[in-house]
C-alpha cells in the first residue's frame, strides 16, 4: 500500500511504472479484479515481432506478401473515459516534495492504467487558457503508452480559462462518457461551474478532482513575503499572517460552493490535497463507476 502515498510514488521516475504500482497497489488493497472487456474489434496490422502469439499472425497476408503481419484488436468496452488534465502554470505549485501537477499527472496516469485494466477506452485532454491537446479514447496497450508518454512530456505553463477550455474540449467529445477532471480550479468560480455544467449538459458523467497543495489553504508563512503568481507572474507584497484566517474562510466557502453546485448538477466533486494517498481518488472513482453501471 505504500505505493498509494504520493511521497513514495514521486521517487519513481517512469510514469508507466508509477501508474502500474499505484493501481496494482490499490487493487491488491481491494482484493478484487472483476472488470472484464466485453468484445474485441480489429484495429490494425503490425509487423510480427518475436514473442507474439502465432495464432495472431494473419496467414492470408503472409500468403500474399510472404511477410508475417500480426493483427491488433481494439477491445470494446462498456465505458469511454476522458481524462482532463489542467496544465496551467498554477499547477506547478508545490510546498513539499510533489507539485499539484505531478500529483494530478500521477493520478491521471494511474486512472488511465486502471481503466485500461478494466478494458475501458481512455482519452486524454490537456488544457490551459491558450491551448489544449486532445487524444480520443481508445482501448489498446499502445494507446495507453501514448497517453502515459504525453502526460510525462507535458510541462505546466500558461494561464487558466476553465470555461473556455472545457467548452472547446466538450465540443470534441462525440460520444458521451465519463469525464475525469484534474485541476486546481484557480479561475472565477462562476466560469468553472459554467464549464462543468456544459459537460454535464451533454449527458456526460463528470468526476472532478480539485487538487490543491495543503499550503494553499494553510498559508503557513511566518513573515511578510512577496508572492509571485505562477500564471500571471504578478507580484504582491503581503504579510500572509494578517490574512490567513480570512483566506481560509474564503477558501472553505468556495469549496462548499463547488460541492453544493456540483451536487446540484450530479457532478462528483472531490477536494484532494497533494499529501493525501492516491486511493482516496480511486475510491471516489469506483463509487462513480458503480453508479454508471
Amino acid at each position: 500500500m505504500k505505493y498509494l502515498l504520493s511521497k513514495v510514488i514521486c521517487k519513481i521516475k517512469r510514469l508507466d511504472l508509477r501508474a502500474k504500482l499505484v493501481v496494482e497497489g490499490f487493487l491488491s488493497g481491494l482484493h478484487k479484479s472483476s472488470y472484464k472487456g466485453q468484445a474485441i474489434e480489429f484495429a490494425d496490422y503490425r509487423p510480427y515481432l518475436p514473442g507474439d502469439e502465432l495464432k495472431r499472425i494473419d496467414w492470408k497476408i503472409f500468403a500474399k506478401t510472404d511477410k508475417f503481419w500480426v493483427r491488433e484488436y481494439e477491445e470494446e468496452t462498456n465505458l469511454r473515459a476522458y481524462l482532463f488534465l489542467d496544465t496551467s502554470g498554477s499547477m506547478k505549485y508545490k510546498s513539499k516534495e510533489i507539485s499539484k501537477f505531478e500529483y494530478a499527472s500521477f493520478l491521471a496516469a494511474a486512472f488511465a492504467y486502471l481503466l485500461f485494466k478494466q478494458h475501458d477506452s481512455v482519452g486524454l485532454a490537456l488544457f490551459n487558457k491558450n491551448s489544449y491537446q486532445y487524444l480520443p479514447p481508445q482501448f489498446s496497450k499502445s494507446h495507453l503508452a501514448k497517453i502515459l508518454e504525453i502526460i510525462e512530456s507535458v510541462k505546466p505553463e500558461g494561464e487558466t480559462d476553465i470555461y473556455k477550455s472545457l467548452t472547446e474540449l466538450g465540443k470534441k467529445i462525440k460520444k458521451r462518457g465519463l469525464i475525469i477532471i484534474f485541476s486546481d480550479f484557480f479561475d472565477k468560480k462562476e466560469n468553472i461551474l459554467k464549464g462543468l455544467k456544459n459537460l454535464r449538459h451533454k449527458k456526460n458523467e463528470v468526476l472532478v478532482f480539485h487538487i490543491l497543495d495543503p499550503n494553499e489553504i494553510n498559508l503557513n508563512y511566518e513573515e511578510p513575503l512577496i508572492f509571485k503568481d505562477l500564471e500571471t507572474r504578478r507580484e504582491i507584497k503581503l504579510d500572509p499572517r494578517s490574512i490567513k484566517k480570512e483566506y481560509q474562510e474564503t477558501l472553505k466557502k468556495l469549496f462548499l460552493y463547488y460541492k453544493q453546485e456540483c451536487a446540484a448538477h450530479y457532478i462528483d466533486y472531490n477536494l484532494i490535497f497533494t499529501n493525501m494517498p492516491f486511493d482516496y481518488a480511486f475510491l471516489s472513482y469506483l463509487a462513480k463507476r458503480a453508479k454508471i453501471k
Binding site: S90, M91, K92, Y93, K100, D184, F186, D213, E216, Y221, E223, P224, L225, I226, F227, K228, D229, L230, E231, T232, R234, E235, I236, K237, L238, D239, P240, R241, S242, I243, E246, Y247, T250, L251
Partner: protein, 619 residues
Amino acid sequence: MKFLAPSFLYLLPLAIIPLIIHFLSRFRLKKVDFSSIFFLIDLKKEKFNFYRLRDIFLLILRTFFIIFLILSISRPIFLSEKTSILKFLPQKAKPIILILDDSYSMEYDNNFEKAKTILKTIVKHLNRNSEITLFLTSKRKIVEKKKPVAIPDTLIDNLKISYKKAYAQEILEDIKNFNSEVYFITDLQEKTYFFLKSFKSDFLINIIDLGKEEFENVGIVDFHWLAEKKGDLEFQIEVVNYTSQEKEIPVNIQVGDFKIRNFLILPPGKKKFQFTIPKMRERIFGKIYLEEENLKKDNLYYFVYQTKNRMPILFLYENEADIFYFKKLFTLIKDYQITYLPLKESKRISFSSYYLIFLINPSQIDQFLGWQLENYLKSGGKLILILGKDLKENKFQKIFATNGIWEDKGFVTIEEIAEEHPIFFGFKKEIFKEPKFYKIVNLQEKNLKVLMRFNNRLPFLLEDTLNNLMIFTSNFTSDFTDMPIKAIFLPLIFRTIEYLGIKEKNNFLVGETIFLSINLPKVKVVTPFGEFLEETFFQKGKRILKFCRTEEPGIYQIGEKIIAVNVWGEEGNLKKLTLKERENLKIIKEKPKLISEITSLFIFLTFLTFLIEIILLIF
C-alpha cells in the same frame, strides 16, 4: 540615573541590531511562488495588518530587551533626595561607607557640626538593611557593618575634631576594591586631597563638599631653630596669610615665665620671621601663638630646645693629614667631647656612645663598617661623611654612589646654596664663593638633597634627611681646597654639627608614634590631656617606650624627656581643589542624594520583555 559600571554602556549601540535586522528584512523581502494571488489581492485590500503592528511591538520589545540587559550589567543607581521614592525600588543590603573628615580644618565656619548633621541625615535616610561602616579621616573606624538603627544620633553628636593628619587617601585606597556606596563629607582641601585629582575607583564616591571657595585664615606652617650657639636662642617661623590683604596680628611667645608679645605685619602669602629668646637652660620648651580667630590650632606651635652638653663626637680617619684642620678647629671650640680614631681601629668600639661621627676620606666602606654605620644611623646616630676618594662600590649605594674624581687645571667655587636651610641662615652668600676647590668627588645625587653646589653644577654638600646623613664631596686638605683657611670653614662645620645636634627628634605631629630608648621598666608620661604610666619593652637589648597617644598638640613629658607635639600646619590652608581638579569627582552640594542600586529592577524588566516576546510569539 548613574551607573556603577558605566563602561558597559558602550554596548548600548547593540540595541539597534533588531532595528537593522527588521529594516533589512523589510527591504529584502523573500519572494515565493504561489499558485494564484487571486484571493490574496482581494483580502489584502480589506485587511488591517495586525501582524505588522505585532512585528513593530516585537521589534520594540527586542530593542528594550537589549537596552535593559546592558543597563542591568551597567549596574544603574538612582539618586534621590527623598526616601519615599527609594522605598518602591528593589533594594538589597549593600555596604555603605561613610567617611567624615575630622581634620581640624573642619573647625572653620563650623563645618564639622554641619558635617555631623549631614551624616545623621544620611544614616536616617539609608535603607534599613544597609550595612554601614563609618570612618573618620583620622583613620578611626567608629562603626563597622552596622544597620542604621545601630547608629544613634548621640554617637555622631559625640564625635570630635582630630588634630591628626587626615588619612583619607589610605582609607579610600583600602576600600576602593569593595563594592560599596561611599559618602565622604569633607572640605576638599587641596593640600590633603590632592590625590583625588587622579584617584581611580570602580565605585562612585559621593563627596559632600563643605569647603568654601573664599576663606580667611592665618597659620604657622614651619618652625626652625637657627643653629647659632652664642648666647640667646634664635628660631624662625614661617607664617602664611591665606587672605588677599595685609594683616597685622599680635604674636605671643611663652617659655615658662618668659613672655613676649609682638605684632607681625603679614602680607598675603608666606613670610618668615625670626625671634630671639634667652637661653635660660640647656633644655627649654614653650609655645608661640598668633592671636587670630579663624582656625586656632594652626596659630600655635609648641617647641622644645635641648642641647647636648659636651656632645660626644667621633672622628674616623685613615690619614692623619685629613684631620689636620679639624684638630686645629676644635682647639678653638671646647664645647664638644672629641675623639679621633683611625678607621682600622673602629671595629673595637661601639658607635652608639657618640652623638655624631665624622667619617673622613675613607678609601672604602666595607661590609662591616657599612653594617656598623647602618645600625648607628638606625638607632638615631648622625653621620657626616667627607669624601676624598672614588667610592663607587659602597654599602650606602642606595643613598649615593661616586662617579670618579673631578680634577682640572683650574678650580671651582661654590655657586649655589639652599638659602632656606637653617645652616645658612644669616650668612652672606658671597662668603661661600671665596674657597677654591681643585679636586672634588663627582657624586651621583640619587635621593639626596643638595644644599650646596659648585659652579660646574656638581654638588658639594648633600643631606639625607631620613638617615641624618650629610656628605661633603671634598676633603678638607690643601690638595682639595683652600676652604679650611677661609672664614667660612669654622661656622660651616660648627653649624653643621649644631644642625645635626639639635635634630634630635623632639618634635612630633599629632598622631605620630613616639619611640624612645628609656632604661626603665615603666615611664610616666604627662600629656595635655592626662598622665599615663607606660611600660617599656625590649628590642635588641634596649628598653624601648612606644607611645601612641599623641592625640592633642602640646608639650609631652616622657620620663625625663620633653617632646613637643604639634598639628600639621598645612591643614590650615583651606584652599580647595580647583573646579577643574574636582571635575572627576561626584560632588553633592548641600543636600546629599541617596543612592539606590536598581539593577534588580532592570533585570526584572529584561526578563519581562523576554517573557512578553515569548508570549507574543506563541500566540
